[in-house]
């Protein structure tokens, strides 16, 4: 058995890789990286932050030229990466605007240039084109001179701070000197301090002027650059394989990123898993227990009025719409008759009172399907020779049912549980929604509605992993409950 488990565990990475590849296809290949960034960061996110996200996630990377530039800057201890990303995004925006203007102007080419409307439209487009050119020039100039400008800007800021600081010291020294003079004391030291402070201030002013000159020089150089085509992009899309590697690496580190609200996905999943399990684990166990009991009973008294009652009740419950049952249950049992809270949740043991009604409704909703399934399984077993043998041996019905029939029925039951258990953590969407239980079902719906890719991805991946583990567990349980099953 141990070898079997080990072998199964060894398959898991491959299965997981398949799941990762599938989610990669769904979330990455089917959507353009920019759109992915928009979905992730929201419609209002700036182009700059979208590019930053793309770079962080490995969708874009610096070209060779960009890398050289970056390394040069880093050697000079100039932080340029953010600005280069920003510039790339600006250039992309400007290029898109330019394409639009070009298409509009082309569209107007065949029209009467003397027409009032055409004239006005052309004038407007011309204005936009001019604006675009100016902005392009500025952006390109920035792209080229970014680092220098930053350095100059920083020097300027530092110099301003220094000038202010030394100015204040100079004033303080002068004030102290004036006071000492007025008091008629020894002022030699104070005079020296005032002179030094004045000299320092003077030097700082010179630094400030130099910084200012640097800024204006860089600016004037920037303005000389005119052609958009001159600039090569510093960024390019990463190839798809590297994107996949980056994507997989994130998942392996359990780094699912942040939700669109800015919370860590792992934190959100953790907080939602508790309420979901609190609702569904007891509900699932109770429903299975009840279904097992009635399934056994129906099989035991097959074709009796009891069997008919159970089967008819099951069919009736299966035929009723689940939402109708929930709505009616909530209205009558909670609101009108006041047996349970209408909706809500609480932390700790206080949650129990909120969970009873949804759990009972879960039992009711699953009753029909589970009982019928169990009845069929049991019927299959009740007719077997070993049951007859057991009865002929004089075993009482209790022993026949629970020791023999039930044990032999466990294999199909375990298979069904193995499928059901991994879905427990994602919760029951409708029950959670109606009863205000802040579980993962609620969260999943929200994530889908908001196209929150990170949350959906995390739920899919965790679902796949738990399914694999549940499958493995079911294989092991097969061997435990049925000695004929040999794992290996």
């Amino acid at each position: 058995m141990f070898t079997y488990i080990l072998r199964k565990l060894m398959y898991m990475p491959f299965i997981l890789l398949g799941v990762v590849a599938l989610t990669f296809m769904l979330f990455t290949v089917s959507t353009k990286p920019e759109a992915l960034a928009t979905i992730q960061l929201g419609e209002k996110a700036s182009a700059r932050s979208k590019y930053e996200w793309l770079a962080t996630k490995g969708y874009v990377e610096f070209t060779e030229r960009g890398r050289e530039k970056l390394s040069k800057m880093e050697k000079q201890q100039i932080p340029a990466r953010g600005t280069m990303l920003f510039n790339a995004s600006i250039l992309a925006d400007l290029a898109s605007e330019r394409d639009y203007l070009k298409s509009e102007i082309d569209a107007l080419a065949g029209e009467d240039p003397e027409d009032k409307d055409v004239k006005a439209r052309l004038a407007r487009l011309d204005l936009r084109r001019h604006k675009n050119e100016v902005e392009s020039k500025a952006a390109i100039a920035n792209a080229r001179q970014t680092c220098l400008l930053e350095k100059a800007g920083q020097a300027n800021l530092d110099a301003v701070a220094k000038v202010d600081d030394l100015g204040a010291r100079k004033a303080a020294a002068q004030e102290a000197l004036d006071k000492a003079k007025a008091a008629g004391g020894d002022t030699a030291d104070l005079e020296k301090a005032a002179r030094d402070a004045a000299a320092d201030h003077e030097a700082a002013l010179k630094e400030y002027e130099a910084a200012l000159a640097l800024v204006s020089r860089v600016k004037s150089e920037s303005e000389k650059i005119t052609k958009v085509e001159d600039i090569e992009p510093d960024l390019d899309y990463t190839n798809i394989f590297r994107q996949f590697v980056n994507y997989t690496a994130d998942l392996l580190r359990l780094d699912f990123g942040d939700t669109r609200q800015g919370r860590a996905v792992t934190e959100v999943l953790w907080s939602g898993a508790g309420p979901s399990l609190a609702l569904l684990l007891p509900a699932f166990l109770l429903s299975e227990l009840i279904a097992l009991f009635f399934g056994l009973l129906a099989a035991m008294y097959r074709k009796s009025s009891m069997d008919h009652t159970i089967v008819i009740s099951s069919i009736v419950l299966m035929s009723l719409n689940g939402i109708a049952i929930i709505i009616a249950g909530q209205k009558f049992l909670a609101s009108d008759w006041n047996y349970f809270p209408i909706s809500g949740y609480s932390t700790g043991f206080g949650a129990t009172r909120y969970l009873i009604l949804p759990a009972l409704l879960y039992v009711l909703l699953s009753f029909g399907e589970h009982v019928r399934f169990n009845r069929i399984i049991m019927l299959d077993e009740v007719g077997q020779d070993y049951v007859r043998t057991a009865r002929s041996k004089g075993l009482n019905e209790n022993q026949v049912l629970f020791k023999h029939v039930l044990r032999n029925s466990l294999i199909p039951l375990i298979t069904r549980w193995a499928v059901a258990i991994p879905t427990l953590y994602t919760g029951s969407l409708i029950l959670e929604s109606f009863f205000g239980i802040p579980g993962l079902g609620y969260l999943t719906v929200d994530a889908i509605a908001n196209s929150d890719g990170n949350v959906i991805r995390a739920i899919v991946v965790i679902g796949a992993v738990s399914f694999m583990l549940a499958n493995l567990l079911s294989d092991v349980l097969y061997a435990v409950v049925d000695p004929r099953v040999r794992l290996g």
Binding site: R124, S335, I342, R388, N398, N450
Partner: protein
């Protein structure tokens, strides 16, 4: 068959348990339980149908987020709580601001008694640290909140510009001297610092860089220098975007600031559990401010509150409940003070005479209705080859005429009254112009012909543009393209995949049949809808606009050519004449009679252009219906105000009393259910005993 014997005790036990379960009421009574928790406090209990996204005022862009920002943060001005139409009045200022002669310099004088809430970020031990350094454990040890000063507004306005994910920079964009340049520079500094603190240069720049248009000459004087006349400025900064945040908190909480608010407002955040609830409790350091007084008879219900110190409520507890049924049932049970009315509950709550039903009236529940400054409309994508305007050369002119005819026909095919009756339960009025009732610029005489229900005129327009029409009488009609022989077909993207979207789709399809245009609807998730709209991928979009402030400019800007680039004008309508009129309109003030008159003229001219081009199909203005429990004093509606939480009042002892009567357990159904379960259980047991025998 072998005799079947079965020990019946476990079965009997289970049957008994089932029967007992049905007889085990007592888990209910939430209203009564909550009321006992509320003893001695004024607690307002409310609900929201959506989730809260952020409590960062410079980021909050939706109504729920803005309302919650209003609990904790202060803007310079606020809307008067009871006077209507609502006027701006001082909030943290000593009076209304003064304007320079050229209207470009606005000076606010701040009150001296406004303090930020006590918070960890003000604690000396937290200096130089961040929330993520210290963790939640340290938060209980708070530092005393400091006084709010003018430089806090300078910082907050700069923060609005500097945040890359701010939703609200549009309120100041291009309007404040030096602020746009500051924004560009800020963006360049994002994540450019040392590896262990990449945001440092950005934060330093935000704190220290001077913006010539934002000045704080002393602690009590805040001066804004505008680049151009901006009559909507005061409205714009009264949105949550203009709220003051202390730099200490923004720097301490950083990326968690959206969920760890710290302002000078009336409430302090007690707890926020996403998708569950948010609880605000009274800020003990809130300045001395009183409920306004009035002798007007329509304000009589506020008499018990007039002159009381604000905030009135000790606790404001909001539950996020997405499903309408539990929301409504909780309201009926007395767990919530107020409730909107969903379509499914409408007939149970409101009579055709727009009154509460006798059943609700017997409980003392009352109804309030008001016009909502929201327009629902359908916008065409004017870059689409079929429905968009194409140009004026002879070939294109024909195409443009055809596109215009399609838009006009679609607009005239829609029976807005019928739509409001069927899908909104009468909660709205037909929209035949852009500006909603109650806002300067609305005038029934401005109603546009192209927006009136007139399928015959719509069909005529299509025929005049060259489409061949098949069908007769009430229809259905088919407008056929003369070149291809195919029926004209328009697809509208809907912003929801809920069941109501499919109703809407059916409605549009039936409307299109009246004029021969096949209207297909494509329901999308909201995120997908926004994406498609931004990318301009679609012929038409279902849209809605909630006005941000009571000025017609806020509506007209959606069709201004200059807003194509900003993404507000998704229609891509770019008419030079309309743009010229808008650029004049936005400079006019409603409060100056001559300017108001000119504004009305301009609006009329703009409507003439829109009537000609039909870039939108306006559907309806919304009307809000809300139910209130008898212990709650309903606020005076104002859809523009987000800081009214401090005025809310709920008579908590009365709620306790009434809720107790509403949460009495009804025994007979439990007995009946017990009986129903006991009979088969008994039958089962008998059957088993027989089998044993």
């Amino acid at each position: 068959m072998a005799p079947r014997t079965l020990k019946w005790s476990p079965l009997l036990a289970l049957s008994a348990a089932l029967a007992l379960l049905s007889l085990a009421p007592g888990c209910g009574g939430t209203a009564a339980t909550l009321s006992s928790q509320d003893e001695g406090l004024v607690v307002v209990r409310r609900s929201e149908s959506g989730d809260l996204k952020s409590i960062d005022p410079q980021i909050a862009g939706d109504v729920i987020s803005s309302l919650n920002c209003g609990m904790c943060y202060d803007t310079l001005l606020q809307y008067d709580y009871i006077k209507r139409p609502a006027e701006l009045v001082p909030n943290v200022t000593t009076g209304m601001p003064t304007y320079s002669e050229d209207s470009l310099t606005v000076t606010f004088k701040l009150r001296d008694d406004v303090f930020f809430q006590d918070n960890r970020c003000f604690h000396p031990d937290a200096t130089g640290k961040t929330y993520r350094d210290e963790g939640m454990g340290a938060q209980a040890d708070k530092g005393p909140g400091r006084k709010l000063v003018a430089s806090d507004f300078v910082y907050s306005f700069k923060r609005l510009a500097a945040l890359p994910d701010s939703n609200g920079f549009w309120v100041l964009e291009g309007m404040v001297e030096g602020l746009d340049e500051f924004r560009s520079q800020s963006f360049k500094l994002l994540d450019t610092g040392p590896a262990d603190d990449p945001g440092k240069p950005w934060r330093d720049h935000l704190r220290t860089a001077a913006v010539s248009g934002l000045q704080a000459p002393d602690d009590h004087t805040f001066v804004v220098k505008l680049t151009q006349k901006y009559p909507q400025f005061l409205y714009a900064i009264t949105l949550s975007y203009g709220a003051a945040v202390p730099y200490e908190a923004a720097e301490y909480y950083r990326r968690d600031f959206f969920r760890m608010p710290c302002g000078s407002g009336p409430y302090i955040l007690k707890s926020w559990k996403p998708n569950w609830e948010i609880v605000w409790e009274r800020n003990p350091k809130f300045r001395v401010e009183h409920f306004p007084t009035s002798n007007a008879p329509e304000h009589a219900r506020f008499k018990p509150l007039m002159g009381k110190r604000l905030p009135i409520a000790d606790i404001i507890d909001t539950r996020f409940i997405k499903e309408s049924q539990p929301r409504y049932l909780k309201f009926l049970a007395g767990e919530l003070d107020s409730s909107g009315i969903d379509k499914d509950q409408f007939s149970a709550a409101v009579t055709p005479q727009t009154e509460v039903t006798p059943a609700l009236a017997a409980k003392g529940i009352y109804l309030k209705t008001w016009e909502d400054p929201t327009l629902d409309y359908m916008t065409f994508n004017l870059r689409d080859p079929l429905v968009g305007t194409q140009g004026n050369d002879p070939a294109r002119k024909k195409q443009a005429e055809r596109a215009r005819a399609i838009r006009q026909a679609v607009s005239m095919s829609i029976d807005r009254e019928d739509y409001i009756r069927r899908y909104l339960n009468g909660r709205g009025s037909p929209a035949l112009q852009l500006v909603p009732p109650g806002i300067t610029g609305y005038d029934p005489k401005f109603d546009m012909t192209s927006q009136k229900f007139n399928p015959a005129a719509g069909r005529k327009a299509l025929q005049a543009a060259g489409y061949r029409l098949e069908g007769s009488g009430e229809g259905p009609y088919r407008a056929l393209d003369p070149d291809t022989g195919q029926q004209v077909s328009v697809t509208i993207c809907l912003r929801s995949t809920a069941a109501s979207a499919f109703d809407e789709a059916r409605f549009y399809k039936a409307s299109g049949d009246r004029v021969g245009v096949q209207i297909n609807a494509e329901p999308l998730t909201f995120a997908e809808f926004l994406k498609r709209q931004d990318e301009g991928k679609g012929q038409a979009f279902d849209a809605g606009w909630v006005m941000d402030y009571p000025d017609a400019q806020n509506m007209m800007q959606l069709l201004w050519g200059g807003n194509i680039a900003t993404g507000l004008n998704h229609t891509y309508y770019d008419d030079p004449d309309f743009n010229r009129l808008y650029e004049r309109l936005r400079l006019l003030e409603d409060s100056v009679p001559a300017e108001k008159a000119e504004k009305l003229q301009l609006i009329e001219q703009m409507y003439q252009l829109l009537d000609r081009d039909v870039p939108w199909v306006m559907i309806n203005f919304r009307k809000t219906f809300a139910l209130y429990n008898p212990w709650y004093i309903a606020p005076e509606p104002n859809e523009f105000a987000y800081s009214y939480g401090k005025f809310w009042y709920s008579d908590t002892p009365r709620r306790t009393e009434v809720a107790a009567t509403r949460s009495e357990t009804v025994i007979w159904p439990a007995l009946l259910l017990g009986l129903v379960l006991t009979i088969p259980s008994a039958f089962m047991v008998t059957r088993i005993i027989k089998a044993q025998a």
